[in-house]
């Protein structure tokens, strides 16, 4: 399958998700009445004007992947790289430089929620395709998380023309824009979690 580019992905930035990422799992009550709720609402609104959610994905037979043999034991895989663009992180940098640390922290965290939602959207698209073939999907796995080496980021960038959605890979394996996610999903009637001993032997 040729890579598919998805531009202008519509996502919703959920306040609950933002609170979670900021360390409020619902049990903290002390924050109410300090103006934080208002600031969060403002930052979500600002973020929605700055983000440009987009991504690229492809589905391929594991054995036919050029440039890597890391997935050769898995019959069908989906790979994706997605981003929210660079406007938001530029604004975070500007806020940080001018000493507005609270706004910078809130906006940065909102960006993390937004890119996560973008990845969730693409994941759901891949799950739809898999479902149409009577197959299921594994949870997402990303290089640098768990035991999957971050250097395998190169493999994903060899497979996908990420430049088409404006994502580049630096020498330190860091993606630019920072708020980008790269991931793999196993598609099968019995998908394996992309972690653990059996799979990792192949990485």
């Amino acid at each position: 399958m040729e890579p598919v580019v998805l531009n202008n992905i519509k996502i919703e930035i959920k306040e609950d998700e933002l609170l979670k990422i900021l360390g409020n799992m619902g049990r903290v009550e002390s924050w109410k009445g300090k103006g934080i709720e208002e600031k969060i609402a403002e930052v979500i609104e600002l973020a929605s004007r700055l983000i440009e959610p987009k991504g690229i994905y492809m589905i391929a037979e594991g054995r036919s992947l050029g440039g890597t043999d890391i997935f050769d034991s898995l019959e069908k895989m989906a790979f994706s790289i997605c981003t929210i663009g660079e406007k938001l992180e530029k604004k975070v940098g500007a806020l940080s430089r001018e000493g507005s640390i609270l706004e910078a922290v809130l906006l940065d965290s909102t960006g993390s929620v937004a890119v996560e939602e973008t990845a969730n959207y693409i994941e759901s698209k891949i799950a739809e395709i898999a479902s149409g073939e009577g197959k299921k999907t594994s949870p997402r796995a990303s290089p640098g998380y768990g035991e999957w080496k971050i250097t395998n980021q190169k493999n994903l960038f060899e497979l996908l023309p990420a430049g088409r959605v404006g994502v580049n890979l630096g020498n330190s394996m860091m993606m630019s824009p920072q708020k980008s996610i790269s991931f793999a999903i196993h598609i099968s009637e019995t998908p394996v979690r992309l972690r653990g001993k059996n799979f990792l032997k192949k990485l």
Binding site: L19, L22, G23, N24, R27, V28, S30, W31, K34, I36, K39, I40, V92, G93, S96, I101, L102, A104, V105, L106, D108, S109, G144, K149, I150, T151, G170, N171, S172, M173, M174, S176, Q178
Partner: protein
């Protein structure tokens, strides 16, 4: 007087920057003992904020608001401390940055903010900072501590580079070196010969306080 200190402490705990600034102005206008106002009032507030954050009562925005409130107050009070008082209050100097090849900035900025809110003189070099720049900064500002952040397993090697370069120049013992960032750990700090590791901004304050602040 105790009541005034309590108000200062509460302003920081509440993360109320306007009130903190108002109280700092009042302290100056009414000739209150500035060092005591800082140490018995505002600093007690940020210590409590740190404690509340560590035990999960506060979440991140409240921690940042507390730090911003005390920084506002200190921006007025610090300049009028005598040199001797400043020496007594300031706990030490820290140069901080995110290592070369790594542009993650916000976590490091948070650590810098908390350190400065807790009485350390902080020189923030920003992100993508080369090993030599850390050492040049440390030398230029005569700091006690070099703090580096790395968010990737690929870039954390630069933290080792700082230690190696200090050794190469024969000045390893001149500085306390600490590390932080998502892939770091106490084990990593030990492996590269750093003096300490902090998992977050509040534990960085505790760590630096123990290592160079005489806490």
């Amino acid at each position: 007087m105790l009541q005034f200190y309590e108000k200062c402490k509460k302003a920081v705990i509440e993360g109320d920057s306007d009130l903190a600034l108002k109280l700092a102005t009042e302290a100056i206008d009414k000739n209150k003992p500035v060092l005591d106002v800082i140490e018995k009032g505002f600093v007690k507030g940020i210590e409590e904020v740190g404690r509340l954050w560590e035990d999960g009562t506060f979440f991140l925005p409240e921690l940042v608001m507390g730090a911003e409130a005390i920084k506002k107050a200190l921006s007025l009070l610090n300049p009028i401390l005598s040199d001797q008082q400043t020496k007594g209050f300031k706990k030490g100097k820290v140069v901080i940055g995110t290592v070369e090849g790594d542009v993650h900035d916000i976590g490091k900025t948070l650590v810098a903010t908390m350190l400065s809110a807790s009485g350390f003189e902080v020189y923030d070099l920003g992100f993508d900072v080369g090993v030599d720049s850390f050492i040049e900064g440390a030398d230029k500002w005569g700091v006690n501590c070099i703090a580096s952040s790395a968010l990737l397993t690929t870039t954390m090697q630069k933290q080792r580079g700082i230690i190696e370069k200090l050794k190469e120049r024969g000045i390893r013992n001149k500085y306390t070196v600490i590390v932080g960032g998502a892939p770091c750990s106490r084990k990593w700090a030990d492996e590269i010969g750093a003096d300490g590791y902090a998992k977050d901004a509040v534990s960085a304050v505790t760590l630096v306080g123990k290592l160079i602040g005489g806490d």
